[in-house]
Point group: C2
Chain length 333, copies 2
């Protein structure tokens, strides 16, 4: 119980891909041994920009859980829970909206960028604008003090801490502990097309459950050095997605360095290089896919894991909600 509490999670908008693995799942496998880790299936947050695709959000919940288990998230060590079944998160979200102004939410850099990316400039769904308060609710409800986030999400953690300070100020004592963002050193995994972000919607992702043929097709289509026309020519490693993936997924760093040197001096063709990456990704994803196939045969088991985790999370978050209500001096029944 003295381990620090860490909260992570995923919006349930589709199965997870290699970008999720490199950016967060890999770290969660470590944290589950060193921290008290909660992973939130953020289906209600997903609704803030998917209110027209509720079916996708619903169906992705168990997909994401199977991906977790397939890569080695251990439900004995990590609590996996569903946001829409944790009412205390909604209660705290609504409460925290009183501690932040509309203008502050509109100036939140992450929100601004995401509004732009979604084409919401003309009409922002109120739920979308308010989601920083909901995120603060999630984090504090679990009493998490560590939150792994991408660089672009750091302003969300700042906003959470602002809300925490205001809550503490109104309470008159340190009711909530401030939160620390953990930003992974490895940057975000690019899409196979070289775009800065791997995403299902951009069609540049390799799902953790991808078939061998899908993996090979994606590697074949992968962006390399567009000026590397002949095998014997020197090639560029920087910005070459194949090397980024080798860095991320090959366990033999020495071989990766040797391949880079060879590519730079010329004589290493893209086809040969991609074949190597294909082999590495096939080896990495085969057991993941196999475990996932087995899990797909047993939906009751998956559901039990989610039910148990959500029950555990429910106790904790309702306890925190009561402590916050009491600490602020709301009416006690």
């Amino acid at each position: 119980m003295s381990h620090p509490i860490i909260l992570t999670g995923d919006r349930t908008t589709g199965p997870l891909h290699l970008g999720h693995y490199a950016g967060s799942l890999r770290n969660r496998l470590k944290y589950q041994d060193t921290h008290r880790q909660f992973v939130l299936l953020a289906d209600t947050q997903a609704l803030t920009d998917n209110i027209g695709s509720i079916g996708k959000v619903r169906e992705s919940v168990l997909d994401v859980v199977m991906d977790y288990l397939a890569v080695g998230i251990d439900p004995q060590k990590t609590t996996i829970c569903v946001q829409s079944h944790l009412p205390a998160l909604a209660e705290l979200s609504l409460l925290y909206l009183n501690f932040v102004s509309v203008g502050r939410l509109q100036r939140n850099p992450t929100v601004k960028e995401e509004v732009r990316a979604r084409g919401f400039e003309k009409s922002i769904p109120a739920g979308f604008l308010c989601y920083p308060a909901a995120q603060a609710a999630d984090i504090t409800a679990f009493r998490a003090t560590l939150v792994p986030v991408g660089e672009d999400q750091v302003p969300m953690i700042e906003q959470t801490n602002e809300i925490i300070r205001r809550v503490n100020s109104v309470a008159g004592h340190p009711l909530l502990e401030e939160v620390e963002a953990i930003v992974p050193k490895a940057g975000r995994l690019p899409g196979v097309d070289g775009a800065s972000k791997m995403s299902k919607s951009a069609g540049n992702a390799i799902r953790l459950s991808a078939s061998p043929a899908e993996i090979s097709a994606a590697v074949t289509a992968m962006y390399t050095d567009p000026n590397h026309l002949r095998v014997q020519d020197p090639g560029q490693v920087e910005g070459n997605v194949v090397f980024t993936y080798l860095d991320a997924f090959h366990t033999d760093a020495e071989e990766v360095e040797a391949l880079k040197a060879h590519y730079r001096r010329g004589g290493l063709g893209d086809v040969t290089l991609k074949k190597r990456l294909d082999g590495i990704l096939q080896t990495f994803l085969e057991p993941v896919r196999d475990r996932r196939s087995q899990l797909e045969q047993d939906p009751d088991y998956i559901r039990d894991i989610v039910r148990d985790g959500t029950q555990k999370a429910r106790s904790l978050t309702e306890q925190t909600r009561s402590e916050i209500y009491d600490g602020l001096g709301l009416f006690r029944l």
Copy 2:
């Protein structure tokens, strides 16, 4: 069970006054015999513009309940419940924020007017901007189809119906029934100073629990006809607060008409007139005050009523929340 469901309530920001009685409590005494009536102690809504006065909001909860019971609200007929102890209301509030845009909330005439009245133009608390969605959540969670509101609150009901239509459209079937505003024929009771609104903060209110001396002092200070300088002069009835109160609280309409005629033709002095109103208000408020004093002796009884009502409301609202989640197709655990 076939009675239509009516939802009313009060923000818990202080004890109730004659304005509440004339504007809503009086009608609730009728509705509790003809409708299935829920009365919501809106403490979380009160926080949207009282986050710095949580103590006042908390302490007003039982005050308001005692006022209800003192005027004759019967907990056997009317369910009295506390908003902050009904998590389904928060869950639906957050959900509904996805069905309304920030711009639409900002254009809501009631919100605009209230933002102005509170001096929030420079910095609107997000919770305040969002409260129309919370109100839609309250109404629909109780499956209320009738909502008594003042004229100024009619746009809130329109906003609720807009949200209901969008929810139904996404659900693909009529999940929620549209709502009807009941606007009382009698306008709002003015303050004793003649201001359009009686309110504790303006210091122009007569509390339901006012002492005899407080009642007399308020009547003495009451705004009449400023041009009615001598007893024998004709006086004006329109805009004369004493007559507005006589209309609202005297049970003998014929005597009120006679007093008006006398005042109009001259010969009825303000002192005499006010003495008559004082007598009427004393007679009306004496039993209310007595019952309230008795209730104050038994806080456990008050608390039990709130606990029972909230428990009943909790079952109903959580049932509705589940039906809405299921109807929209959220993840079922």
